[in-house]
């Protein structure tokens, strides 16, 4: 298709400015239209409709069966499942962020300040991040297995009896946090390493001349200058954690005690929207998720701006 277009254009060599401009315009129009069409259909329109749908009460046949205004949102306030899901997801995000940021920062500092030839470590620590979540969650579920799991083997070396980590939400949530930390810590590490490498050597050298020890330089120069990068990592990890679904779904499906499953935000959206066909109600939950992500992004922009 591209060929036929171009051959048609191979006209006079001395093109006037306006002809050229018209050709460019045609190219932009023909090139951009299908892309924007797809973009509008699979992204922009669904985003808009999420908001409008959240104002409706859906039934099985019609998503927009009855306009109810903000009824769905007020219902959310008294929905215990939603509240639990919101708290669980926030705990999940908090646990993931605190652990993966601390570990990621420690790794980044060690690998840039104390170790030469850190390439192989970077590779290994980064590996889990690129791996697809489903097989990873499956093998972690097998590691957490109450009867044959690897973790119970380790615990048995210390005389601790076998545990069913995923059976109850209280322990299951943290077991999945541990897996998630394992998965994202390498990403945080890589971004922080780049951040550290981008700090001009000049600063730390000046501090060293002024008598700062290695840890003094870390504490007063490297980490403060790294703040925008730390914030970026923090926000990206938090957003990712708020969208958690697959790992929880795969690791707790049919393992948890009945009625005791780990409730999370996206899980509630899927459950209400697709199991109970309450698309409007589920959309209002989606809007809440959207607001959380939006606020996090705004916080990041604000702080990064005030810092620079």
């Amino acid at each position: 298709m591209a060929r036929s277009f171009s051959s048609r254009k191979e006209g006079p060599a001395h093109l006037g400015g306006s002809t050229l401009q018209r050709q460019k315009l045609l190219f932009v129009f023909v090139g951009l239209t299908p892309i924007l069409l797809i973009y509008g259909v699979v992204r922009i329109w669904p985003i808009i409709r999420t908001f409008s749908l959240s104002l409706f009460d859906s039934d099985l046949v019609k998503p927009e069966a009855k306009f109810v205004g903000f009824q769905n949102y007020t219902d959310l306030l008294s929905d215990d499942s939603f509240k639990t899901a919101f708290i669980n997801t926030s705990l999940f995000a908090l646990g993931t962020v605190v652990a993966s940021l601390t570990l990621g920062l420690a790794l980044a500092l060690i690998l840039t300040q104390f170790i030469r030839r850190s390439g192989i470590y970077q590779l290994v620590y980064f590996l889990p991040f690129v791996m697809p979540i489903v097989p990873v969650a499956i093998v972690w579920r097998w590691i957490y297995d109450p009867s044959y799991g690897l973790l119970n083997l380790f615990l048995s070396w210390f005389g601790i009896p076998k545990q069913a980590f995923l059976l109850y939400p209280e322990t299951g949530l943290w077991a999945i946090v541990a897996m998630n930390v394992w998965k994202v810590v390498g990403y945080n590490m890589v971004i922080l390493i780049v951040g550290i490498r981008n700090i001009p050597l000049l600063y730390s050298e000046a501090a060293a001349i002024d008598g700062a020890g290695r840890f003094g330089v870390l504490r007063y120069i490297t980490v403060p200058l790294l703040k925008p990068v730390i914030l970026f990592v923090l926000v990206v990890t938090t957003i990712g954690a708020y969208n958690v679904f697959t790992s929880v779904y795969v690791m707790t499906q049919s393992t948890t005690a009945s009625g005791n499953d780990i409730k999370i935000l996206v899980g509630e959206i899927v459950l209400n929207g697709f199991r109970y066909s309450k698309m409007g109600y589920a959309s209002s939950e989606a809007v809440i998720l959207f607001v959380v992500v939006m606020l996090l992004t705004l916080i990041q922009f604000r702080f990064v701006r005030s810092d620079t």
Partner: protein, 296 residues
């Protein structure tokens, strides 16, 4: 051996100054650090090792207690069994078709749109770009319900088109390619080609695309990894067993009444393998492109 070095180095390092000495003085620091890092690396790899080990164990060994780290009687039986217990080849084919097609469209749309947004200055183009940028941060999970309804209207539930729909375009890809063209595409070259009478499509096809091949390769890898790992959308949009992806099949398989972890691990290995191969072959480029762009 390192202890020996440590003893040899220390006295001499106390007497002199300079970077090299400082580095040597810290040698004794680095031994425990390496130890910690190696243990950590072991923990990072352990789940993968465990997956591989289990996939080669015969059924009796899978449920042995205490478990063996290395299979005593390694067998390929589990790999045969995945294909017996479910149409795994079909699932793999589905995943591959979806992933490769989406990878292609993402690369094409990202480079074309990125090129237009980077080079062409027409009124309104910037506004369109800002809209794309603004919608890029909206997580998929928030708008999947209306997208599902739309697919229902298009009669695309349980079809390849439906499965591919959200991944035909990647806002991050457009942004990434645009940055790349702004930084590396010499506009004089484009003007020279125009003076030589080349049409805009020919310029795009013959000059712009080849010049951005390394950025496109990075984007292609990223697209492959993210589409291959998709789960929630395939879960929603497929009904029939025929349209399942590998991920979906594995997740469904493990909820069967008796979970057979041997074949399940074998299936997981197969699902992981394409990404693992890509990672091993292109490890440097992958880490670098993540480092440069912060892609997630």
């Amino acid at each position: 051996m390192s202890m020996l070095e440590f003893k040899k180095v220390k006295p001499d390092s106390l007497g002199t100054f300079g970077r090299n000495t400082q580095f040597r003085r810290e040698l004794w620091w680095r031994i425990p650090l390496h130890l910690i890092l190696i243990i950590g690396a072991g923990l990072m790899l352990l789940p993968f090792f465990w997956m591989f080990a289990t996939s080669f164990k015969p059924p009796t060994e899978v449920v042995a207690w205490p478990p063996n780290f290395i299979p005593e009687n390694p067998t390929l039986g589990n790999y045969g069994k995945v294909f017996e217990l479910m149409p795994f080849a079909r699932y793999f084919f589905n995943s591959l078709v979806i992933t490769l097609t989406c990878m292609g469209t993402i690369c094409l749309t990202s480079s074309l749109a990125g090129y237009i947004f980077a080079i062409f200055k027409f009124p309104g183009i910037n506004i369109i770009f800002i809209i794309i940028l603004a919608t890029a941060i909206v997580p998929f999970e928030t708008y999947m319900i209306p997208l599902y309804l739309l697919m229902k209207e298009f009669k695309a539930i349980d079809t390849y088109q439906g499965l591919m729909a959200p991944n035909l375009i990647m806002s991050f890809g457009i942004f990434f390619m645009r940055q790349n063209y702004i930084a590396f595409l010499p506009e004089e070259l484009l003007d020279a080609a125009r003076i030589d009478g080349a049409g805009e499509w020919k310029i795009y096809w013959r000059i712009v695309l080849p010049l951005s091949s390394s950025a496109l390769a990075a984007l292609a890898i990223y697209a492959f990894i993210s589409v291959w790992g998709a789960f929630i959308w395939p879960l929603l949009i497929t009904n029939s067993s025929d349209m399942k992806t590998v991920e979906l099949a594995l997740a469904g398989f493990q909820t069967a009444y008796t979970v057979e972890y041997g074949p399940l691990m074998a299936g997981s290995v197969i699902c992981l393998l394409p990404i693992l191969i890509i990672f091993i072959l292109l490890r440097r480029q992958i880490i670098e492109s993540v480092a440069i762009t912060g892609m997630k």
